[in-house]
Subunit: 140 residues, 2 copies
DNA sequence: TTATAATTTGTAAGCAATACAACATTGTAA
DNA sequence: TTACAATGTTGTATTGCTTACAAATTATAA
């Protein structure tokens, strides 16, 4: 919790209750949360919490690089804390998002084919290990 | 045009005028088109064209692997013909999507960390070469 | 405290995408 | 060719995520 406060201070963002809660959410749940999920979680503690605030907060946090939006399905965005560079695996069966440790050489260089790289996003789609096992899911 | 017809035949999909037009669009414009763009282009030739048909067609084409949806912004999907494996570069300034030739080892293996891979999506975000040049855009 | 700036809130509006039913077209069988 | 079933297309209505906006609230500075 102190960590989160320092993170906000370092970016000159006032650590309001709402903002702290949102980041705490992403920190504890280990990311990949939809706006609605975050909203519902926090609403239990702060009933007056507005979904607009969640949108606003995540949007400004993304701008300064504290959080990262994950866009895979095109239906709804998910968010995670901006930590080390990694990819994602999206299970088409259970819709879960799994972190994949992968480093990309091009990203480190900061440019590719003359284009300046600011962000790198990579994800696999398929069936996760868990859904592949006969006991827990159907074999593909 | 004959190519497109054969492509549809191979997948047992009836080559209707609408479907042919949509694929022709993607073929000629070299992909990265939004549903609305495709719709507007075709509407000039076929005024009765329905946007639902564009959605339906692209959706079923994606299912059999003829086209690939590109989801980057989360605002709207783009589509391209399914050719060789590659990534995309999204310019944050001019919103253009550029093909990037990159092959991923993991994808070839078909699995990662025990998860079965069906699709691989990768994209960079940044400022494209064109927007970086002082004459045409502002330096970042 | 009082004034000013920054945040939050709630509702309204925008917009991509989907659902659905009516209509049209194509393929098949007699 | 005709009748009928299956497949495709169209247009409207609806859903659901996201943004706009202005009022209400809270924090900061004088």
């Amino acid at each position: 919790m102190e960590q989160i406060k320092k993170l906000l201070d370092s970016k000159q963002i006032r650590p309001t209750v709402q903002r702290m809660k949102i980041l705490k959410c992403l920190s504890e749940k280990k990311g990949h949360l939809t706006v609605d999920t975050i909203y519902e979680i926090i609403r239990k503690e702060i009933p007056t919490m507005s979904k607009t605030t969640v949108y606003n907060t995540l949007s400004s946090m993304a701008e300064v690089g504290i959080v990262v939006p994950i866009v895979i399905t095109g239906k709804e965005a998910r968010y995670e804390l901006n930590t080390v560079q990694h990819h994602h695996f999206f299970c088409e069966r259970c819709a879960k998002v799994i972190d994949i440790e992968v480093q990309c050489d091009h990203f480190c260089k900061g440019e590719i084919n003359g284009h300046k790289i600011n962000e790198l996003h990579g994800y696999f789609k398929g069936v996760c290990k868990n859904c592949l096992t006969p006991e827990k899911g159907r074999k593909l």
